[in-house]
């Protein structure tokens, strides 16, 4: 078969050019919101005092005859207080905050990169639009709730050491208490985190019944036990591996995949992580034994058919490279019996020497 002429009309394409183009494309792609705020309910009694700030809140009200419907600006460091009704606020970034009756919250920071709310008493429900570049936190007494992008509530009694309860409806939050320094609790959807008044230790408790709400992302992280040290999610590790790979850091990418497999073996990305780990160890890290382990694991994890074929073919190759001809032949037979007309069939047939 003759070489197609297009081979002789090729632009020069380096990694830098591809990287630059991808940067341009990704910047021009319409960002998809990871979270959608849906609920708006509220009430009244806003006593907002302000002391010079920069961010604007759209206030919407849907409950109670006394609730106003007009939009108005609330300056940073404002105090929001409700009496008999509730108050709902839509922030400039699309996140929603609802303050229960008899509650009080102080806006400590309303910058685009950091939003911080101090709940003095009562309850606060938050539906936070996920934004990588923005930190969102709620402080209640000596407890800090760091928002990863989710829907949750914080309840706090009044006083210097209040009872604080954090319930997550969707997504994940991180909770830090000054009473337990150095411990970051990761509270996932359906879970609650409670710290009693005074010095009682936090204890997990089932989340209250919440009406199910659809989510555009639809993929909250898997529930984790309450009050355990924070762990990166499967998604975070997978993305970290991708970033390391793109940066040319094969070892870093492999480490992230290893962590994903160790911490989240049931994650939907785990089989792909095992396959990618096998590829990295084989192609970039020269770790043939490690490659075999990862590829065998990928095959055992019921990876998709096309991945499985590639994984089996790679196993033949890596066993051959190791000089382990017996294992090579077994892998070859396994491939051939599964994919007699596979894309690697011809190449696989020539490996492992003679029968």
């Amino acid at each position: 078969m003759s070489t197609p002429p297009n081979r002789y009309v090729q632009p020069e394409v380096g990694e830098a050019r591809v990287d630059r183009l991808w940067q341009n494309v990704s910047q021009r792609l319409e960002p998809r919101p990871s979270r959608v705020w849906r609920w708006v309910m509220l009430g009244t009694a806003l006593s907002a005092a302000a002391a010079g700030g920069v961010f604007w809140l759209k206030l919407t009200s849907s409950m109670g005859p006394s609730s106003g419907s007009a939009e108005r600006a609330v300056l940073a460091e404002a105090k929001l207080e409700t009496k008999s009704d509730e108050l709902s606020v839509t922030l400039g970034d699309g996140s929603s905050v609802k303050l229960a009756s008899q509650s009080e919250v102080q806006v400590q920071s309303g910058q685009a990169s950091s939003i911080s709310l101090q709940l003095s008493r009562g309850a606060l429900w938050c539906d936070v639009t996920h934004r990588e570049e923005r930190k969102f936190r709620v402080v209640a007494g000596d407890v800090e709730v760091r928002v990863v992008g989710t829907q949750f509530s914080v309840k706090s009694s009044a006083g210097p050491s209040p009872r604080v309860e954090v319930s997550v409806t969707r997504g994940v939050v991180e909770v830090v208490s000054a009473r337990r320094p150095g411990i970051v609790a990761r509270v996932a959807a359906g879970q609650s985190w409670i710290q009693d008044g005074e010095s009682a230790a936090p204890k997990p408790e089932p989340a209250p019944e919440v009406a199910p709400q659809s989510s555009e992302s639809g993929k909250p992280d898997a529930p984790l036990p309450s009050a355990q040290p924070v762990l990166p999610s499967g998604r975070e590790l997978f993305e970290k591996a991708g970033e390391s790979r793109r940066a040319g850091d094969a070892a870093g990418a492999a480490h992230a995949y290893e962590e994903l497999l160790r911490l989240h073996p049931g994650d939907g990305r785990a089989s792909l992580a095992a396959f990618e780990l096998g590829r990295l160890r084989m192609d970039r890290l020269g770790d043939l034994s490690g490659a075999i382990s990862a590829l065998e694991r990928a095959v055992a994890m019921n990876i998709g058919p096309s991945f499985r074929e590639d994984a089996l073919a790679r196993l033949v190759s890596v066993y051959a490279s190791q000089g382990n001809l017996a294992a090579c032949r077994r892998a070859r037979d396994r491939y051939s019996s599964s994919y007699p007309a596979g894309v690697h069939a011809a190449a696989v047939a020539t490996r492992c020497g003679s029968h």
Partner: protein
């Protein structure tokens, strides 16, 4: 390249080391997964750059064309009925986007807004091309600016990409009979150029 551009109704297995199948990546990209879009981009950026360059052999145009094509593809992923056919679909987007750019550029030239620049054949055709291939490619690229947009694209897809007429028709979004007419006209001029 021919097999890369051809459309197959059956899911195709991945090439060795290619990672997730196109179908898996397309489905993940449809779900909003950024990594999947990036994986598709990186998998096919070179293919798209090569195809764009062969139709529009000017580097600046090529980059813009490829970016626009990927953007169009990602924004219309929901319309791709066979996710495994992503590469053929992307190729057709590159081809059609190139056609639009060529028409716009010719209009700009006609209006005096842009200067017509001949294709630098020596730069476009690799020196490693065998003599008979080089002769044909030089004739093709020496002729392109004199052809209509449809003739030009059809000729590149036939003579450079070595696609069959039904494949060219699919890539260009034209009927086979229209492609034949465009090719006949272009080929006649090409024959005269090769054998004066």
């Amino acid at each position: 390249m021919k097999e890369l551009l051809s459309h197959s109704p059956q899911p195709q297995p991945t090439r060795s080391g290619a990672g997730p199948s196109d179908a898996a990546l397309v489905l993940a990209a449809r779900a909003g997964e950024e990594w999947a879009r990036e994986a598709l981009f990186r998998r096919y950026a070179r293919l798209a750059l090569g195809l764009a360059y062969r139709i529009l052999p000017r580097d600046a145009d090529v980059d813009d064309l490829v970016q626009d094509s990927f953007l169009a593809a990602f924004e219309r992923l929901d319309r791709l009925s066979n996710p495994q056919a992503f590469q053929a679909w992307l190729s057709s987007i590159v081809v059609r986007t190139a056609g639009k750019r060529l028409r716009r550029r010719r209009l700009q030239v006609r209006l005096g807004l842009l200067r017509s620049e001949p294709i630098d054949v020596d730069q476009v055709v690799s020196r490693s091309a065998p003599p008979d291939v080089a002769v044909e490619l030089r004739a093709v690229y020496g002729l392109l600016e004199k052809l209509s947009v449809e003739e030009r694209i059809a000729l590149v897809l036939r003579r450079v990409e070595r696609l069959e007429i039904p494949e060219i028709a699919e890539q260009m979004g034209l009927s086979s009979s229209t492609v034949k007419r465009r090719l006949n006209a272009a080929e006649a001029r090409l024959e005269r150029a090769i054998e004066p």
